[in-house]
C-alpha cells in the first residue's frame, strides 16, 4: 500500500466510525449502548496514555491519577454549578495543571525514565490515600461532600451546553462520548503529524540529539505529558457521566495497570491499537464478571505476560507486519530496501 491508499483507508475507517456512532442507538438495546458508552470513555483514557507513552516515550504508571482527578473535578464542579458545561472544562483543566506541576517537577529535575514510573505510581497512591480518608463532614468543597471511601453518589450527568434543565438521555450521552472519542483520535492524529508531534517523536527517539539540534527535551516532554493529562481528565468526566458516581478506587493501581495492558495488547506506537485493545479487554473483563470460573486478575495477568513474551508488538502492528510480509512474498519487489521500511508513513511518525 502506498501512503495515499493508507490515508484513504484511514479516512474511510473514520467515516465508518462516525456512521456507527450515529446509528448504534437505533439498532442496539439500551444496555448495550450504555456498555459501549463505558468502553468509549475508557478508550479516550487509553488514547491519553497511548499518546504520551507511544509518541512521547513517557511511561506513566499513574495515568489513572489524571483520570480520577478529572472525574472528581467534574463531580465537585457540577455539584456546585449545577451546569455540566464549566464542569467538563474543569475536568480537563485540573488534571492538565496537575500534570504540568508534576511534569515540571519530574522532567526539569532530570529524573530518569525508570524513576518516572515509580513517581507516577506513588503519586497515584497518595491521591488514593488522601481521597479515601475524606469521609468526614468537614471534607466538603462548596456544597459537595467528598465522602471518602464511599465516594460521591448521584452526580448530575451531562446537560445541553449552558442549559442545566435539559439533561442528556443515555443515547445522547453515547453520541457525546463516542463522538468525543473520534474527535480525540483525529485531534491526536493531527497533533502527531504537526511540527510539535514530529519534535515529540524526535525527543522520544533520542533526547540528546534533539537537544543538540536546539530542541528543549524537557519542554517537549512536559507538553506531551500535559496533553495526556488533559485527555485523561476528559475521559474521567465521561466516565463519571456514564456511572453518575465517583469513588477513590478510580485512583487504583489496577486501573493504571489495565491501561498499560490495553496499549500493549493493541500495539504501542499506534492510536487505533489502544482503542481496539481497550474495547477487547473491557469486553473480556465484563464477560469474566458474569461467570465465576475465572478471576479477572488471573486472566489479565496471563494476557499481559503472554503478549510481552509472544507478541510484544501487539495486535495491530503484528497484523500489519503479516500483511506486509504477504505482500512482499506476492512479489512486489520494487526497491532494494525491504518493503516494510518504505510503507511506514514516516512523516506522520505513526506506525499503524
Amino acid at each position: 500500500m502506498t501512503r495515499n491508499h493508507k490515508l484513504i483507508a484511514q479516512a474511510l475507517a473514520v467515516l465508518v466510525a462516525i456512521v456507527v456512532v450515529a446509528l448504534a442507538p437505533g439498532y442496539l438495546d439500551l444496555f448495550t449502548v450504555m456498555q459501549l458508552t463505558l468502553f468509549a470513555s475508557m478508550a479516550v483514557l487509553s488514547l491519553s496514555l497511548a499518546f504520551i507513552w507511544g509518541f512521547g516515550g513517557i511511561l506513566s504508571f499513574g495515568q489513572s491519577a489524571f483520570f480520577g482527578l478529572g472525574g472528581y473535578a467534574y463531580a465537585v464542579a457540577v455539584g456546585n454549578f449545577g451546569d455540566s458545561t464549566p464542569a467538563i472544562v474543569l475536568a480537563i483543566l485540573v488534571p492538565a495543571l496537575f500534570a504540568g506541576a508534576l511534569g515540571y517537577f519530574v522532567f526539569y529535575g532530570r529524573i530518569s525514565d525508570v524513576y518516572l514510573g515509580v513517581i507516577t505510581l506513588t503519586v497515584t497512591l497518595i491521591l488514593f490515600n488522601v481521597v479515601n480518608s475524606t469521609a468526614g463532614n468537614e471534607y466538603t468543597i462548596g456544597s459537595v461532600r467528598l465522602g471518602g471511601f464511599n465516594g460521591i453518589p448521584a452526580i448530575q450527568t451531562f446537560n445541553m451546553p449552558f442549559d442545566p434543565s435539559d439533561i442528556l438521555y443515555p443515547e445522547h450521552a453515547w453520541w457525546v462520548t463516542g463522538g468525543l472519542l473520534i474527535v480525540v483520535y483525529l485531534g491526536l492524529r493531527l497533533l502527531i503529524g504537526s511540527t510539535f508531534g514530529r519534535i515529540a517523536i524526535a525527543v522520544r527517539e533520542n533526547e540528546t540529539r534533539a537537544a543538540l539540534l536546539g530542541y528543549d527535551p524537557r519542554l517537549v516532554k512536559l507538553g506531551v505529558f500535559v496533553i495526556g493529562g488533559a485527555i485523561a481528565g476528559l475521559a474521567g468526566a465521561l466516565y463519571v457521566n456514564w456511572g453518575a458516581f465517583v469513588g477513590p478506587t478510580i485512583f487504583s493501581l489496577s486501573l493504571s495497570a489495565e491501561i498499560i495492558i490495553w496499549i500493549t495488547v493493541g500495539s504501542l506506537g499506534t492510536l487505533v491499537g489502544p482503542i481496539l485493545g481497550c474495547v477487547l479487554i473491557q469486553y473480556l473483563v465484563s464477560q469474566i464478571g458474569t461467570q465465576q470460573t475465572f478471576n479477572s486478575n488471573l486472566v489479565l495477568g496471563v494476557i499481559l505476560v503472554g503478549f510481552v513474551l509472544l507478541l510484544p508488538k501487539g495486535i495491530v502492528l503484528s497484523i500489519q507486519q503479516a500483511f506486509e510480509h504477504l505482500a512482499y512474498w506476492w512479489g512486489q519487489r520494487k526497491s532494494t530496501l525491504p518493503s516494510s521500511s518504505l510503507d511506514v508513513p514516516a512523516m506522520e511518525g505513526e506506525k499503524g
Binding site: T122, N129, L298, V299, L300
Partner: protein
C-alpha cells in the same frame, strides 16, 4: 491522639505547689514512657521497611530488573506462613523456613520461565512482572478467596509505664539486623558474593572468566525472592492477610530502594531508617493514612533532590 491528650494535660493549671510537683513528675513519667513507645514504633517501622525492601534491593538494585511482582512475592510469603501455621506447623518454622523457601522456589520458576527472556529489556520486564503480579493476585484469590484467617502475634507483650507493646517489635529489629549482616557477609566475603557483584557489573567479562552469567542471575533472583518471602513471613502476624496486600508494599519498597541508591545495603538501610522514621512520626502526629502520604511525598522530594539516591551522595562505591 494519645500524645496530644498528654500535652493538653500538662497545661492544666493545678492548685497547690505540692500537688503540682507530683502531677508534673507523674506527667513527665508518662512522657518518658510515651517517648520510649514512639521510639519503638519508629524502630519497628524502619525494621519492617528494611525487611520489605531487601529482596527488591537485590533484584532491582543489583540486577536492574524492575520486579513489579515484588509485593506479591511478599504476599506469597505471608500466605505460606499463615497456611502452614494454621495447618499445625510451628509458627517460627513457618515464618523463617517455609516462607522464604516457598517464595525462593516461586522465584526460581519465575526466573526460568519469564525473567530470563527479558534481561536488558527494561520496559518489557516491568510489564511482564506487572502481569505476573496480577496473575498471582488472581491465583491466590481463586484459591483462598478475598480474606484469610491470620496468625496471632507470637512472643506476647511487655509494659512501658502505662503503655503496652509487644516483644515482636524487638524481634523484627533483630531479624532486620541479622538479615543485613547475612547479606553483607554473603556479598562481601563469599565466592558467590564476589562473582555475583562482578557478573552484574560486567557479564561478558565474567563469562570470559568462566562464570556462567545465566546461572548467577538465576541464583541472585532466587535469593531476592527468598528475602521477599522472609519479609512476608515476618510481617504475616502483624498484617492483614489479603491477596491484594502486595499493592500497598510495592510503591513503599520501590521508593525506598530508589531513594537508597546504588549501594544496595547501606543505601537501603539509610533510606528505610529515614522513611520509617518519617512515616511513624507522621502517623503519630496525624493519622496512619497521612503518615503514608507524608512518607511518599518526602520520598518523591528526596528523589528529586538526590537523583542518585542517598548512597549516591553519602556512601559512594560501598555495598
Amino acid at each position: 491522639m494519645v500524645g496530644q491528650g498528654c500535652k493538653g494535660a500538662s497545661l492544666v493549671p493545678v492548685s497547690g505547689l505540692q500537688s503540682g510537683l507530683v502531677l508534673t513528675s507523674y506527667l513527665k513519667g508518662i512522657e518518658m514512657d510515651l517517648a520510649v513507645i514512639v521510639a519503638l514504633d519508629v524502630v519497628n517501622g524502619a525494621a519492617s521497611l528494611f525487611l520489605l525492601c531487601l529482596g527488591l534491593a537485590i533484584i532491582f538494585g543489583m540486577m536492574r530488573i524492575i520486579n513489579l511482582a515484588h509485593g506479591e512475592f511478599v504476599m506469597l510469603g505471608a500466605y505460606a506462613t499463615v497456611v502452614s501455621a494454621n495447618a499445625g506447623l510451628n509458627i517460627w518454622i513457618a515464618m523463617l523456613v517455609v516462607a522464604p523457601a516457598f517464595v525462593a522456589l516461586v522465584g526460581l520458576v519465575v526466573e526460568r520461565c519469564l525473567i530470563r527472556f527479558l534481561y536488558g529489556r527494561l520496559i518489557d520486564s516491568m510489564l511482564a512482572t506487572w502481569g505476573l503480579s496480577l496473575f498471582i493476585v488472581g491465583f491466590v484469590t481463586t484459591i483462598f478467596g478475598n480474606t484469610t484467617k491470620g496468625v496471632p502475634t507470637p512472643l506476647g507483650g511487655f509494659s512501658v509505664g502505662a503503655y503496652r507493646t509487644s516483644y515482636y517489635t524487638l524481634f523484627l529489629l533483630a531479624m532486620a539486623l541479622v538479615a543485613a549482616g547475612i547479606i553483607y557477609a554473603l556479598m562481601r566475603h563469599t565466592r558467590f558474593g564476589l562473582i555475583a557483584r562482578a557478573t552484574m557489573q560486567n557479564p561478558e567479562m565474567a563469562a570470559k572468566l568462566g562464570v556462567n552469567p545465566a546461572r548467577i542471575y538465576m541464583m541472585t533472583f532466587t535469593l531476592g525472592a527468598a528475602l521477599s518471602g522472609l519479609a512476608g513471613g515476618l510481617l504475616a502476624p502483624v498484617s492483614g492477610i489479603t491477596p491484594v496486600m502486595g499493592a500497598a508494599y510495592i510503591a513503599k519498597a520501590f521508593i525506598t530502594v530508589v531513594g537508597g541508591g546504588a549501594a544496595i545495603l547501606s543505601g537501603t538501610v539509610a533510606a528505610s531508617s529515614l522513611f520509617g522514621f518519617i512515616n511513624q512520626l507522621g502517623a503519630y502526629f496525624t493519622t496512619p493514612v497521612y503518615g503514608e502520604v507524608i512518607l511518599f511525598t518526602s520520598a518523591i522530594i528526596l528523589i528529586r533532590l538526590l537523583p542518585q539516591g542517598i548512597s549516591g551522595r553519602f556512601f559512594k562505591g560501598q555495598l
